[in-house]
């Protein structure tokens, strides 16, 4: 076992850059630290316990979906006037979670934020699993799921096409593009690390499996050259997706004329909210993972500090959008819009609204204090609350606006059913199951990239890698 001493790298001395990786950071230590997690013969008991629970919840998810398909949409709480209930809340929630991964892997790459190297791999994994969870909900709630392929535009003998002016079709295209590019990006970045695992493999099965996916990687300079170009190009391709996907999701609401849905700030506001919730999920997963798998020297407090600053920044953006929406609901002088917000803040679901405001705008203000940004338990609590708040936000948007629109005679309440609950909780099961499998079998930290930000022996002793540039 290799153990790396921990020291502090959260200083902000402008005359020098803080090290990105702490302790005795050489190539071998990085490889050992990361690979031994995937190579350890049996997993620790806690892993099995967690896996057992999340796998059970996943079974619950699929059982609920089976019941839904056999019975019909009536098993969900969706009903007139709230035709979009929890499934769409969950869909938007999970798509949003995914955005932090793409932000970290693509945008921070283009901005040369080298600290991303320690956390990008599992943030990208998180993206893919979150998009999987997200994709399930709109697919199963369409009703006749055996006709779900009608959503895709393809030439067919019925001469039947989806409505190209419908944001629901844009959604299908946006999400499937996003899933494809994210998966490619994740996989491409992992190839050199898979080759490392292949070369270290001690059993034929492992050598075969990792070898298959390493695509014959030899680490020659020609391969590295092409790899880095491909990575840069994919980063540039993925960058517009960070913005476009959640903008398209926001169109689902904002193109309508419904009060509380139709407002022009929705696209950037949704993107900010998505990154906000995604960063919170990264913190939720990173803090236990780094403690449990001995990655504290690679995923340092500085990394978490930076993520928390992103959470604070995006929280302020979300708060800005809430504020401007409220102001305009009054300033616009439209009675329906004004009512929609009065209803959110003072109607029967006011408690959800104020929970949302507290979790998304008020509590993250704790991150103005460095102590809160650098204390693991505090940041996990805040991050969990942010995730609660962001789920509530989508609930508020969907249920409060649909439940009480223009005509009081058509108002109605929404009540979730057991199936709703099972599917929601089950989606967390699926997410965590995938994540636990990833932690167990794949390189959690991008070893090749972290090695790229290590000092190459030229620096004076004691100077680590720095996030210069």
């Amino acid at each position: 076992m290799v153990s790396i001493p921990i020291d502090d790298n959260t200083n902000q001395d402008p005359t020098r850059r803080a090290p990105l990786v702490l302790g005795k950071a050489d190539f071998e230590t990085v490889t050992e630290t990361v690979c031994r997690i995937a190579e350890r013969p049996g997993a620790p008991v806690a892993w099995y316990v967690a896996f057992g629970i999340s796998a059970t919840l996943t079974v619950g998810l699929f059982a609920a979906i089976g019941w839904l398909i056999m019975t019909g949409i009536g098993v969900l709480g969706n009903n007139s006037p709230v035709f979009w209930g929890w499934p769409i809340v969950n869909f938007v929630f999970w798509v949003g979670i995914g955005h932090a991964g793409t932000l970290i892997s693509a945008i921070l790459f283009l901005f040369r934020q080298k600290w991303r190297t320690s956390i990008n791999r599992f943030a990208e994994a998180m993206t893919i699993f979150a998009v999987m969870c997200a994709g399930i909900f709109p697919a199963v709630h369409v009703g006749r799921i055996w006709l779900v392929y009608w959503l895709a535009p393809y030439p067919n003998q019925m001469g039947m096409w989806p409505n190209f002016r419908s944001p629901l079709l844009w959604d299908v295209l946006a999400i499937s593009t996003y899933a494809t590019v994210s998966a490619l990006f994740w996989y491409l970045g992992m190839i050199p690390d898979l080759a490392t695992l292949r070369d270290r493999a001690t059993t034929r099965l492992r050598r075969f499996a990792y070898g298959l996916f390493a695509l014959g990687w030899q680490g020659s300079s020609g391969q590295w050259h092409r790899f880095e170009w491909a990575y840069l190009l994919l980063a540039a391709l993925a960058t517009p997706l960070v913005v476009s996907v959640h903008s398209v999701v926001s169109f689902d609401f904002a193109v309508a004329q419904l009060p509380g849905w139709h407002t022009t700030i929705f696209p950037p506001y949704f993107v900010a909210g998505a990154i906000f919730s995604g960063c919170a999920m990264v913190i939720t997963l990173a803090v236990p993972a780094r403690a449990y798998f001995g990655l504290k020297s690679l995923i340092t407090i500085r990394h978490l500090d930076n993520m928390n600053k992103l959470i604070l920044g995006t929280s302020l953006l979300v708060g800005y959008a809430y504020g401007i929406e409220l102001f305009t609901a009054w300033y616009g002088g439209n009675m329906y819009e004004a009512f929609a917000f009065a209803n959110r803040a003072g109607g029967p679901l006011a408690w959800v609204y104020w929970l949302m405001v507290s979790c998304n705008v008020i509590i993250p203000q704790l991150f103005w204090f460095k102590r809160c940004r650098t204390t693991p338990w505090i940041m996990v609590v805040v991050a969990l609350l942010v995730n609660v708040g962001m789920w509530m936000e989508r609930f508020v948007i969907i249920v409060s606006s649909l439940g009480r629109d223009f005509l009081p005679s058509s108002w109605g309440a929404f009540r979730p059913t057991m199936i709703d609950v099972m599917m929601f909780v089950g989606s967390f099961g699926l997410f965590l199951t995938c994540f636990l499998l990833f932690c167990r079998f794949l390189p959690m930290v991008a070893m090749a990239e972290v090695k790229g930000v290590l000092p190459h022996g030229e620096e004076k002793e004691g100077e680590g890698a720095t996030d210069e540039h």
Binding site: Q12, P14, F251, A254, A256, P268, L316, E325, H469
Partner: protein, 406 residues
């Protein structure tokens, strides 16, 4: 850090010398004279007066946005503790510090122009208009004035703070000054977001007092930051060509500014599209009326020109690496984008006053030139006897050694 020889900064350390304060004074005189002449030349008829004030507002919004964008740029560099941008930061600090005088340019609007510009200030218009009566707690002259004073105080103090601390560092090289600026950066951006949003609501959105759009503040900001980066490119190129800046700005800095320009051009397009698409799609009369005015008659061509000239063409033009690394090509794109950023302001303001034609003549040109002289005077005055690069910044060497790899 690589072992390459860093550029020499002796020129920058010496600072700007010469009778530049006098030049600034002369520029200011010319600016005031041109503005006064333009105002007088129009005559006293209401139409002519209104046209002058509309042109004044367009140009005020244009120059103001350049300084606001620069203030954002400076605060952002401190927020993210950027190293690469140190070489060009002083220029941004100077452009931003023009905000301390920008309030003076607003005084004529406040004292004279407002009645020609803002219909909601006319009690006879408000009376009987339910919407305007409803909005009166916000749209009233005392509160409007108080807000404007508040914006200028906040902007002036913040911009002055960054220029002053950074200039002090030229001599002392004290890293604590960097820390102080970094500490203020998040709060600056927070105040910036709120003040710019409501200033855009007050001065531009309320020209059509019935109309509203939640993204309007972001739209004004998006144009401002494009304009500010374009000004930075032009200033850097001019100062280097004139020998005022020698080694502090390298080809890598132009490349970076070019990338930012490309990125913010796309950001502007994204915000403009978000606003247009949602209003077009829902097609609610109370909102679509604003675009209807901009799609009717000759304004349609102005809208199309904006879309093509402020998004499609510069997007393609700024993509190639070599374009961003050459002073002359990047400078040309900066000029192009400033022209279209001006057109953007024109497109925001003018349809209210001239629904059937695109006026361009003495009032518009006179305000552009006159205010331009005043804007330049402010920068020259601030730059005189100062170094044009933050030579004492602890990250200066990092900025000088910076290279684009990809």
């Amino acid at each position: 850090m690589k072992d390459k020889a860093l550029p020499n900064l002796d020129r920058e350390r010496a600072g700007v010398t010469g009778p530049w304060r006098a030049v600034a004074f002369a520029l200011a005189i010319v600016g005031v004279a041109v503005l006064t002449l333009t105002e007088q030349a129009g005559g006293v008829e209401t139409d002519a007066r209104q046209r002058f004030w509309a042109a004044y507002l367009v140009n005020f919004g244009f120059y103001l946005s350049l300084s606001l964008g620069a203030l954002f740029f400076v605060a952002l560099q401190h927020l993210v503790r950027a190293g690469w941008s140190v070489g060009v930061r002083r220029l941004a600090e100077l452009v931003a510090a023009n905000l301390i005088w920008m309030g003076l340019l607003f005084l004529p609007i406040l004292f004279s122009g407002r009645t020609f510009l803002y219909s909601w200030m006319d009690p006879s218009v408000v009376a009987g208009d339910k919407l305007l009566e409803w909005k009166e707690p916000y749209l009233n002259v005392p509160f409007f004035t108080a807000r404007a004073v508040g914006y200028f105080v906040v902007w002036g103090l913040l911009a002055w703070f960054f220029l002053r601390q950074s200039s002090r560092q030229d001599a002392s090289g004290d890293p604590a000054l960097t820390r102080r600026m970094e500490k203020l950066a998040p709060g600056t951006l927070l105040l910036f977001a709120l003040t710019v949003t409501f200033a855009a609501f007050d001065w531009f959105m309320s020209l059509e007092p019935h109309w509203f759009s939640t993204i309007y503040g972001v739209y004004y900001f998006a144009g401002a930051i494009v304009g500010a980066v374009a000004v930075l490119v032009l200033l850097a190129a001019a100062m280097q060509a004139g020998g005022w800046i020698h080694g502090a700005i390298t080809v890598e800095h132009y490349h970076e500014l070019g990338k930012l320009l490309l990125g913010f051009v796309v950001f502007w397009g994204y915000i403009a599209f978000s606003q247009y698409m949602l209003i077009w799609y829902a097609n609610i009369p109370e909102e679509s009326v604003w675009y209807l005015a901009r799609q009717s008659g000759p304004w349609l061509w102005c809208s199309v020109a904006l879309l093509v000239g402020n998004l499609f063409v510069p997007f393609l033009g700024l993509l190639p690496r070599e374009v961003k690394r050459r002073r002359i090509t990047l400078g040309a794109w900066a000029v192009w984008l400033l022209v279209f950023h001006w057109l953007d302001l024109y497109w925001l303001v003018m349809p209210t006053f001239s629904p059937a034609s695109l006026p361009f003549g003495w009032p518009e040109a006179g305000c552009l030139v006159g205010m331009g002289c005043l804007f330049a005077a402010g920068i020259v005055h601030l730059a005189a006897r100062r170094a044009l690069a933050p030579v004492g910044d602890p990250r200066m060497n990092e900025s000088l050694a910076y290279e684009n790899l990809g």
